[in-house]
């Protein structure tokens, strides 16, 4: 087997040094009560060629571009990934290295993470970002727990228009602590209704997503004010960070913690994972922030370098008193993101964000002209909700057969939104693609 280099001679020589007669003897401390009765019931090893055939067949049973036109976002976005990023990400010194606990031999990862932290902080308008969490969902959960730790409050207010899966994961994390999650409804225009917050106390955090799950851009400044008036921290979540190439960032509007999903930045969708949990806060809260942090340092010769720092927050030192139990970050995904942002640049990011919005607005306009209802009046970024007429399900299925996925049906997440579909348009869709979609829907 090509991954197992030991020859029979190697094994014999090693057993000799150990003074054991066989490898079996090395397992003498494993009692019978713990052993398997029979061998592993696994098929014989596949060669690389058999494996490739088998997996290609499975991959072929997946609906992806260019065969399929998928107009879906909802936390997983189709953006162009430059060849350079894929190529650089394959460098095995990045891929096959471990956590940079020995900084002298890991300066590549460490500088890259420091750069990532900086780009994220600048994008979100915050003072400090960590070196990533797992995904947008766990990032929200960690943000709420962090606010609870800081304020001592026992309840959090979470907008219903935050990604449904993020809310479910937050619920899972908050249940054992007995913390209350109060749901803020949405208004007719698609934005969060903040009025329930009036007079509410004991709140640790108010969490809003922008752009929200319906694609609507929220009024973060007002939400921040309202949160702070109640003594709560203001948490801004997101699932499409490209929006901040165009929109006013959360930091400028009073956010205390910003958390979300960074998959849009050069990371393949990969059927939902691995993603990238982005997380940022203000320096005054840094000791309460979960996750790894890279800081600048100087070596014995005065040379600049980078190290993991403020590790006393983390599980390997604080153990049960840690800010989180997190051990790994999503280092390679953070690197992926940084490479993408480095390639796109500040000017490029602005143009890409504008393209996304303009294309989505184009589709919105064409669908409105065709007589379909744009459900929410609030301005949107690259996603929006359309209310289709009775019987659209048939059209939707007909379109599937034509290899077009006309958005995400919302009724499984929001039962009151029957016949409503969440459509997404990014820079990968052309005018022709969108015209074709409208044509197919109308026919």
């Amino acid at each position: 087997m090509r991954y197992l280099p030991h020859t029979a001679e190697d094994v014999a020589a090693m057993l000799d040094v150990i003074a054991a007669g066989s490898i079996d003897e090395l397992f003498s401390t494993v009692p019978d009560s713990c052993r398997r009765a029979g061998p592993l019931k696994l098929a014989e090893p596949m060669t690389e060629w058999e494996l490739s055939t088998h997996l290609s067949a499975l991959a072929a049973k997946m609906a992806v571009c260019p065969d399929y036109q998928v107009f879906m976002g909802a936390g997983s976005y189709e953006h162009h990934i430059p060849a350079t990023v894929l190529h650089l990400l394959g460098r095995s010194e990045f891929v096959t290295s471990y956590t940079p606990y020995q900084p002298e031999i890991s300066q590549g990862t460490l500088q890259a993470m420091y750069e990532y932290q900086t780009l994220v902080a600048r994008l979100l308008g915050m003072e400090v970002a960590n070196a990533s969490l797992y995904d947008g969902a766990s990032a929200l959960a960690e943000a709420l727990l962090m606010a609870i730790r800081i304020t001592g409050g026992k309840r959090v207010a979470v907008s219903r228009v935050i990604h449904p899966s993020y809310r479910r994961v937050a619920q899972t994390y908050l249940t054992p602590g007995g913390f209350d999650i109060i749901e803020l409804p949405y208004r007719a225009d698609g934005r969060t209704d903040l009025s329930p917050l009036d007079g509410m106390d004991g709140l640790a955090a108010v969490a809003i997503q922008s752009p929200n799950f319906f694609g609507c851009i929220e009024d973060l400044a007002t939400a921040a004010e309202t949160a702070h008036r109640s003594g709560a921290l203001f948490v801004t979540a997101f699932s499409e960070p490209l929006a901040y190439g165009l929109l006013r960032n959360p930091g400028m509007q009073g956010a205390d913690i910003v958390c979300g999903e960074g998959q849009s930045f050069g990371i393949p969708r990969s059927f939902g994972g691995p993603g990238l949990g982005m997380f940022a806060t203000q320096m005054k809260y840094v000791r309460n922030m979960p996750g790894r942090l890279v800081g600048k340092a100087v070596d014995r010769n005065g040379k600049r370098g980078f190290v993991l720092t403020l590790s006393t927050r983390e599980q390997h030192i604080r153990r049960e008193k840690a800010t989180s139990n997190i051990c790994t970050n999503h280092s390679l995904c953070a690197l992926n993101c940084a490479m993408y942002l480095a390639s796109v640049g500040g000017t490029g990011l602005r143009e890409l964000a504008a393209l996304n919005r303009d294309k989505a607005e184009y589709l919105k306009k064409r669908l409105a002209e065709a007589g379909f209802g744009i459900r929410f009046a609030a301005p949107t970024f690259n996603e929006f909700v359309v209310e289709f007429p009775e019987g659209f399900q048939t059209t939707y299925e007909r379109l599937l057969e034509k290899r077009i996925v006309a958005g995400l049906p919302l009724d499984c997440f929001y039962p009151e939104l029957e016949r409503n579909f969440l459509l997404c348009v990014t820079e990968v869709k052309t005018r022709d693609d969108m015209d074709a979609l409208v044509r197919e829907i109308r026919s």
Partner: protein, 484 residues
């Protein structure tokens, strides 16, 4: 004269991203604009973020140079105990990059993602077979998240019976994530000591096990590299008071095809795909932490679950006692593809992998005992633990020796863990390390022990060949500079 891997060489400097570039450069193809601009309301518009503008060449040179400052498994031996830094097969990455997998949206209608759902279902079956447990979730994104999932399930199990237990037994050898995960679920870790043989005694557990203890978290083999021989008895003691047994499966690489977790009395186990199952560590992640459980705990697994019905696959939420979701979608699918490829490539050879891993570790242990202090002179599993006790009067520490090892061309082993051995040096030479590479590592460590006697300052100022010398971590923590 032994030729060790390390050699001095030309390495290139590279500034920070924002120290390069020029306004107006771009490193990607922006698609042509084929729609009219739609100006956004003034009050919503922000400034463009303060990012550098770089050309494609700027970006390629930047990251190529940065990568050359790193050391990976592909560079050389990486004997990090508890991390299982085995070789990451390249075919696995190729499979994960297949467009059908890489470009798939997680919320597509089920009929359009049968390939992915089938892969997940099969991987669950394979992991169940390898561990000897019954049901699996692939959702947790990492080992620590798998532990949290396990703790949440223990919490749910007892809550479902109307009981509120507040404690979890955690051995002194536990990885830091164990008590942290327990605490996240509102459990108070109840610490117990391992015995003089480095393993848990049933009596110690019996002493503390009562109806307020929800369960025990055990790592087996433990972090000293020793098999917890009393596991079955301990499991029985815990079960008798209706507690659950959680096993941290980080060290599974020692025992594939050899142990049966179900027989061992384990109720819940997490695996680290990025350790045992060869998926790359990526500089600290992403990994994947599937959780395997015995039948009676299946109802509590996270949803959605992958269900197979006559060759068709679907996702089901029909599990009312589930702990809920721990991941936005299905888990780290890209990592699952790699692990699946690995398991199919190895088949029953997984057992050989474990046997050879254990052979490598015992070989290192026998070769270095006497050179370094061996706190537990017993058969080890896939890793062995030494300490700097013998170097104490030379005033040389574990840290000094670890830093010096880099000058020989090796990544240092895990140091100062587990906590029960002061100055611990944990060496795990996975089965993908050949005898020649292991011999070189042994020789390098012997050379360092000699240097500790003859030239200790060399160690205290090591490393000398890396891009930077020792960094002032104290100043970095006192005056943190976390953003450029």
């Amino acid at each position: 004269m032994t030729l060790f891997p390390a050699a001095p060489g030309l390495i290139l400097n590279e500034p920070l991203l924002w120290e390069k570039g020029k306004r107006g450069r771009c490193g990607i193809s922006i698609p042509a604009r084929d729609v009219e601009p739609c100006p956004l309301e003034e009050d919503l518009l922000g400034d463009a973020p303060d990012f550098p503008d770089l050309s494609e060449v700027d970006v390629v040179r930047h990251y190529t140079r940065l990568s050359q400052w790193n050391f990976g498994v592909d560079s050389g031996t990486y004997p990090l105990g508890s991390c299982t830094m085995k070789y990451n097969p390249k075919i696995n990455d190729t499979m994960a990059s297949l467009p059908g997998f890489a470009a798939a949206h997680p919320l597509l209608p089920e009929s359009l993602v049968q390939g992915g759902l089938r892969l997940m279902h099969e991987l669950e079956r394979l992991l169940a077979e390898i561990t000897g447990l019954d049901a699996v979730t692939l959702q947790p994104a990492a080992g620590a998240q798998g532990e949290l999932t396990g703790m949440l399930m223990i919490y749910a199990y007892h809550a479902n019976k109307g009981s509120r237990r507040s404690k979890i037994i955690v051995p002194d050898t536990a990885h830091g994530t164990n008590p942290a995960s327990a605490a996240l679920c509102g459990f108070q870790p109840l610490k117990v000591k391992s015995n003089e043989q480095g393993i848990l005694s049933p009596e110690t557990i019996a002493e503390v096990m009562d109806e307020d203890v929800a369960g025990i978290m055990v790592t087996n083999p433990n972090t000293l590299g020793l098999f917890e021989e009393n596991m079955r008895e301990i499991a029985d003691i815990v079960h008798r008071k209706d507690g659950l047994v959680y096993c941290d499966g980080a060290n599974m690489n020692a025992v594939m095809g050899i142990v049966h977790l179900g027989c061992m009395g384990v109720d819940i186990l997490h695996l680290n795909l990025h350790k045992t199952f060869s998926t790359p560590h990526g500089g600290g992640g992403p990994g994947s932490g599937p959780v395997c459980v015995s039948k009676h705990l299946e109802p509590f697994l996270p949803v959605p679950r992958v269900i197979e019905e006559q060759g068709r696959y679907r996702l089901s939420e029909a599990f009312p006692r589930s702990i809920g979701k721990v991941h936005a979608f299905h888990g780290n699918f890209g990592i699952m593809v790699r692990a699946y490829s690995y398991i199919l490539s190895m088949g029953p050879e997984l057992k050989t992998a474990s046997r050879l891993a254990v052979l490598n570790a015992n070989y290192v242990k026998e070769s270095l005992k006497g050179v370094f202090h061996l706190p537990y002179d017993r058969p080890c599993m896939h890793e062995c633990v030494f300490s700097d006790e013998l170097q104490k009067d030379l005033k040389v520490t574990t840290l000094d020796m670890a830093k010096r090892l880099m000058d020989y061309g090796f990544h240092p082993p895990t140091v100062y863990f587990p906590l029960v051995v002061p100055g611990a040096i944990m060496i795990e030479p996975p089965e993908t390390e050949s005898k020649e590479d292991v011999d070189l590592l042994i020789e390098a460590m012997k050379a360092i022990a000699r240097e500790a006697r003859e030239n200790p300052d060399l160690l205290r100022t090591a490393p000398h060949l890396c891009k930077v010398t020792r960094l002032d971590e104290v100043e970095a923590a006192r005056h943190p500079c976390l953003t450029g």
